[in-house]
Subunit: 391 residues, 2 copies
């Protein structure tokens, strides 16, 4: 059985005032192309389908279109869980009616305790799709259990699943959360919203040891946890500059025959590249402006980190001429350079300088030339005639 494991689509995401719906349409389009050529038996989307509990009309449209293609055109089986960004109730619209079309949208944790039963040439595959649920809501669902944090939620829910697990069959678990192996450091991103304020988000990977594959959602970088069988697919595209070095794509899993202990399994990442990458550039303004770039690189989403000691004159206007999609500019004050030749042009002593002196510094900074004598005279006479109280 070939499985496409993806998640954290965050459809409708806005980052730094920029809507990424067009980029999402692009990467989801590339995902659909891979589905069409590879024809996986099962597509898993492990939560955070939408970015907001009330998604935009465009986001609803894109998901609708995508699921329709998967189910109607490609006739693939699809299992979706809701993540911490999704409204379970909104996402579940139509879910019961869509089940026998092969689309399972699981948003009710109680339902996740019974498997979705699939089959291939090696026999049955049980899919346990566990949607995100907060500890508070989980306490209401399982009143007899002691649930303080996310680890307790997983202990209770996965525990109930494992009570009835037939280990002679192949079993897949889908889960949305922060699953860790003690001592192992996971790759986190700035675009992941913490699951709890103050309390611990972490869930022990130990609970998942009896599954043949665990398809995780929540972290945006593709990675394994503890074993090859417990994996985050990561998001389909970068949602923060902290992800600039991530390899984004789909985790493609081949699940073979059940052996003693667990099923044969192999996986690889099917990478997906958007036409516009997201990356950080760093250097002096001159260095950033002088970069030798391809047309495509000019179009990338850029965070420019300008290393500077002096004042900068319209850095955004200048960078915009070279980079078409700058999302953020940061100025990094370079302490080592401050010691050097340009140190006199600092804010430190500007109050002691005359307006003429300040302008002379500014002119030199912007043009890299000294203010000529004749220009300086003109300026001086201009300044004399002005009401200096305005300064």
């Amino acid at each position: 059985m070939k499985i496409y494991h993806t998640g954290d689509w965050h459809i409708g995401k806005v980052f730094l005032h920029k809507s990424f719906i067009d980029e999402q349409r692009e990467v989801i389009g590339k995902f659909l192309e891979k589905v069409e050529s590879d024809m996986p038996d099962l597509v898993i989307i492990a939560g955070d389908i939408y970015d907001k509990s009330i998604p935009t009309v465009e986001a609803v449209g894109l998901l609708n279109e995508t699921l329709s293609k998967l189910v109607m055109e490609h006739k693939r089986k699809v299992v979706i869980i809701s993540g911490n960004h999704d409204s379970a109730d909104r996402l579940s619209f139509g879910s019961e009616m869509l089940e026998d079309k092969g689309l399972h949208i699981v948003t009710d944790v109680v339902k996740s305790i019974s498997p979705i039963e699939l089959e291939d040439e090696h026999g049955k595959v049980n899919v346990y799709a566990v949607p995100y649920i907060s500890p508070m809501k989980a306490r209401a669902v399982f009143p007899g259990e002691e649930i303080k944090d996310h680890d307790d939620v997983a202990r209770v829910v996965i525990g109930k699943i494992c009570e009835k697990l037939d280990k002679s069959e192949r079993n897949i678990c889908i889960y949305h959360g922060f699953v860790t192996n003690s001592g192992e450091r996971l790759q986190e991103s700035e675009s992941e919203r913490p699951l709890s304020i103050g309390g611990s988000d972490e869930v022990s990977a130990e609970y998942f040891k009896d599954f043949d594959y665990v398809a995780l959602g929540h972290l945006h970088g593709p990675q394994k946890v503890k074993t090859e069988r417990i994996r985050y697919s990561g998001s389909l595209m970068k949602y923060s500059f902290s992800e600039q070095n991530h390899r984004k794509g789909i985790t493609s899993v081949c699940l073979g025959e059940k052996q003693v202990g667990s099923a044969e399994m192999s996986c690889n990442i099917e990478e997906i590249y958007p036409s516009r990458d997201m990356r950080i550039i760093e250097g002096s303004l001159e260095e950033l402006l002088a970069e030798d770039l391809s047309e495509a690189e000019r179009e990338d989403y850029i965070m420019a980190r300008i290393v500077a000691d002096g004042e900068l004159y319209s850095p955004k206007d200048k960078l915009d001429k070279v980079y078409k999609n700058i999302l953020r500019i940061e100025i990094k004050r370079d302490a080592t350079r401050l010691e050097g030749e340009k140190a006199e042009f600092s804010r430190a002593n500007f109050r002691e300088k005359s307006v003429l002196e300040l302008f002379r510094d500014f002119y030199a900074e912007v043009t890299d030339m000294e203010l000529e004598g004749s220009k300086e005279e003109k300026l001086a006479s201009l300044l004399e005639n002005m009401d200096m109280e305005e300064f």
Copy 2:
């Protein structure tokens, strides 16, 4: 073919700060009971499914549950159009996937030009489901056409349908708007939102003359337009006090064999009663308080119109003891009574009266007794000792 025609469910409606979701669950439950016992071949919901373009989670849940029951449990064919209150894009989620489950959610006016084809023992039935579209949006969809108002929209869309209409077959049209027959006065309600500001909402019934049945939505009172075949089902429950005398329910239509001109047709209203009615009570406060009421009548949603000439002392508190669900209180000044015995207690001359006189009037009004001499003396001495500037 038996058809259940309903519409204007306005799920999630809030009226006078009161959510009606529980009442909606109740009347939709009664509708489902009728479906279960009557098993109509087709259920039509003629727009304004939700009350808001972004429905609440509860509203989404109730519609989802209802449609799941209709389609999964009762296996009925269902055709829905979006109305002026619905977001076409949000309502259409899953629509393509749900079509072969027998659920058609039509929100795209272009699709409405091709029929949904059904069949019964007498042959084919073509259903043209025309969603609401504003004249502005219609101009973008049909750029070659001159569209100024809703009548133009209907002329163009219904015109395109009629171009290809096979009049030897039976044809049903579903439409959401203000369809009128010139000279005929329709029953309107306060809960219907005007379709245009300033311009005309009206659409000529003439366009629909070739259909065997026209299932209309928008007006909340069940009524026919021009002929028996063009009908508003009205809403399932009252959404304003202007509807207090409406008979609410489902229009149940029997569509028989095609004859020369049109098909055999008969219809009746299957009434639905919520456990709490909505009605206006009117009379003096004493009359309203003295009404002989059943337990159920005490629970009704009430607008109390108190006919009064003098001041009223805590009318809401008093009425709340008798009527459990008062949504609005209006005071109706009775000009005829003002001439009578209580006329002296009016606001007109209160500035000329002393505080003691004002209190004497107030006491008489509230208690229906004269202020006793001893009490009046006490009050007078109290008032003397007070700093009257506070008044």
